[in-house]
Symmetry: C2
Subunit: 495 residues, 2 copies
């Protein structure tokens, strides 16, 4: 099935409709929004096997993974619905008038910023796409959503879009609360990002794609925020004490890392593309074991031919660099569109001198960096670009003995992991999925967990308004039973 | 006294020192930071009359105003110190492990982003300058601060900088926690904003200045946030019911507005430069009374010759536009560097067709827009640029009768005022001082109130760390007695 790219005129019409819908949708109660989100989850489930089978055909992802991903997407919708209703994200602050000092009554909360454009991600056809985390959190905030389908799973996206549309109709909300457009060329994306009614953008994909959106958004007459996740090599630092603790430990670490590198054919944003250790027999053993595990692995089919081709080419380019040694490649020959798991190694000196080796090779590939000593390891940590995650494989004593490495690693990541691999992203309020540039365009916000709602709001202070005119969240009686900071004290009591 | 512009080499050295200081300063406890801020307040007071007299000479501001502004600046430092210690801004979220589901322990808080460059404002030599709100909130967050003195009050800035330096020395903190540079040309600012160790920028001034910083920051290899306040005309909407309620009402409103327009010779960022009403005898009376008040006023001396010249020129340009009528100018002839209070009027049609009339005329000037009906008033609200504030002069019934005007007005402001003028900015947690572009570069943050601390932090999640290794804010025992969200419940109990 083919879809037409949306024209500039169609996008203009869609965005005008979205703005009109915004004026209505932002007035809905938290409960109405939460109910809509729960209803979307139900409609996704009701889309049944057709949805799963379409996604399998379009993405080559296995059925079990897709069923899990749909369940995760439904969990996101319902858990963000709960958070929407709980209303912590409204961050209500009230300071009552102090007439003697001339201080007026001030009440601040968060208001939705307006229509949000979401670009579907290739690697998560459900969880980061049409009804994924960006869409769910924007609907919670009170913003209409316009999704540009990822061309690699446009039919899947279409089915999910229809599910959302059904839920909106059942809730008697304006149809403009959600729109779905197709576009293969960059023109569609540019028209969406530069439209005057677009107020924010969510994106998961390549650096080139995300940076283009970021630049367009900043060059607008009225710049708008772009939350783009643009790739990460998620370094794992093997600290010496941990690696030396036992041969068993080194083997187990190697097995753990190999599993993480190959999970989902290496197509997770949290895939560990870099492992950093200090040279010596412990690291040699780790590399050997990692090589064995990778060598025994079976190539997996990648998301689409473009990604498989890019993997093969980028990997070949990295392996062809001077001072890069191929440690192991999966022995089984890859079939068409498959990616062969691969591990390579290089010295810290080679890595620090060669920016190409810092680039993400999207797929089941990792590069082990051998440092001469802990000073070189510190150098690697200090010269790495921003990442979604950094993992330390370390004993408590390692952490205490390497304060500078720990500090440098903290500076480059959003999630700082001890003794675990980066794959596996818990959907929880405490999750930070977003790291310093270029991992994301804005490290101050997360795209996973209910704090993601904060991306789509801005504070508004009411000064001197009558109680009857104030939104429920700010009324004296606290009818929504929110936690509010009143005269610098946190309370859920009425005023 | 003259100061040398900092060279690029000097700035490089200062920023390297700031980064090294950051590595130490971010480890300080909340109490240490709060104590430093309180000590800076004391040192500002200890700077005594010399500080006030220097500021009087440099800014032409009256003594009482400057003494009040110093007191306000000290209040900012001490109240943000209290907020720093209370730690709500750390937004701690903990989700404990659920081994059955494979969910790891995750703990998120806010970490400082690094050295912050602050540009002193011309119109607030204390409160928005060297030890002003940006500096205070950045120090609370754990960030070193580099202030570029405003050239119009460089000596005042130098005295305050010495006060800060003394407080840092007394606290035995690294000298690099604070630096003070001078620069008349744009090169100094550019070198500061583009330095690799600079992680954020605070600015209050012109659109041209703020936009240049914003563009430089976004064009960096690693873009950084810029919080620039760039001007606002703070519209006041006179709704018909309110204006019609009595002749006394119209007169009182006119007196209130005239006072706000002329306060501080119109040199506040919240000065109301636009008043919008529906034509008729009530508005005629209002305009007449406003004209009388302005006509009787005395011109005030402006901050510096450049500002006085700009006021005269911009005002003349606005008054020279077709369809703009001068209602009244202060009868007393202005002396050198003085600005004559002025009120003009125009039709909504003229205003909507002429972007020049939307521009801020920084000084004691306001333009009354006469709309034919409430549809035209809505058009004005919908076509206004982003503002710090919008005021409605309205009865409750007016608000209920004009939902579209109210909605459009809300969309363009950060603080939404009922029946009061915009001048007078309460320093409180509930304050929002920041509005949609071009009022500020980022409407999602405030530059007044303790929530301003959030401009200088980013979230960091710890996954699977031992309690002993975690920062105090995240430890099971809750030694800092913080409010934390644990497994989606807000509590100040230990875990």
């Amino acid at each position: 099935m083919k879809f037409q790219d949306a024209t500039v005129a169609e996008i203009d019409s869609i965005m005008n409709k979205a703005w009109q819908a915004f004026l209505v949708y932002r007035q809905t109660s938290l409960k109405q929004r939460a109910d809509l989100m729960r209803s979307i989850a139900q409609e996704m489930e009701a889309a049944g096997d057709e949805l799963i089978h379409t996604a399998m055909r379009e993405t080559n992802l296995p059925e079990a993974r897709l069923r899990n991903e749909r369940a995760r997407t439904m969990f996101q919708l319902t858990s963000y619905a709960d958070a929407c209703e709980a209303g912590h994200w409204l961050e209500v602050r009230i300071d009552t008038a102090v007439p003697d000092k001339g201080d007026p009554d001030l009440r601040k909360w968060q208001v939705p910023i307006g229509p949000v454009v979401v670009f579907g991600a290739s690697n998560f056809p459900f969880a980061y796409s049409t009804a994924g985390g960006d869409t769910a959190s924007a609907l919670a905030a009170g913003c209409p959503v316009i999704v540009k389908a990822h061309p690699a799973h446009a039919e899947t996206s279409e089915i999910v879009a229809k599910a959302i549309t059904r839920a909106i109709a059942k809730a008697n909300l304006p149809a403009g609360v959600f729109a779905h457009v197709h576009g293969v060329g960059f023109e569609t994306g540019k028209a969406l990002v530069t439209h005057t009614h677009t107020r924010a953008v969510g994106f998961t994909g390549s650096y080139g794609g995300g940076k283009a959106l970021f630049d367009w958004a900043n060059q607008r007459k009225q710049p708008i925020p772009v939350f783009a996740e643009m790739g990460s090599i998620n370094p794992i630092f093997l600290l010496p004490g941990k690696l030396a603790s036992s041969a068993k430990e080194a083997k187990e670490l190697a097995a753990l890392c190999a599993g993480s590198v190959m999970l989902g054919t290496g197509q997770f944003c949290t895939n560990p593309g870099l492992i950093v250790g200090v040279e010596g027999k412990d690291l040699d053993l780790f590399i050997e074991e990692l090589g064995v595990a990778i060598g025994k692995a079976t190539p997996g089919t990648m998301l689409h031919p473009g990604i498989a081709k890019a993997y093969t080419e980028k990997k070949a380019a990295a392996l062809a660099e001077a001072d890069v040694t191929t440690v192991a490649v999966a022995a089984v020959e890859p079939q068409i569109n498959q990616g062969a798991p691969t591990v390579a190694s290089a010295t810290a000196k080679a890595f620090l001198g060669n920016p190409l080796l810092h680039q993400e090779v999207f797929g089941p590939y990792t590069l082990v960096i051998q440092c001469k000593n802990k000073e070189e390891m510190l150098g690697v940590a200090q010269h790495l670009e921003g990442q979604l995650t950094v993992s330390l494989m370390a004993t408590d004593q390692d952490v205490i003995d390497h304060p500078e490495v720990v500090a440098a690693a903290q500076d480059i990541c959003g999630r700082f992991i001890l003794n675990a691999v980066p794959t596996g992203v818990r959907v929880a309020l405490s999750m930070q999925h977003g790291g310093p540039f270029p991992a994301t365009t804005d490290s101050r916000f997360t795209s996973v967990g209910a704090d993601g709602i904060k991306r789509w709001v801005r504070p508004l202070s009411y000064q001197g308004w009558s109680d009857v005119l104030l939104p429920d969240a700010l009324k004296n009686g606290n009818p929504l039973h929110l936690w509010r900071t009143i005269n610098n004290k946190l309370t859920n009591d009425p005023l």
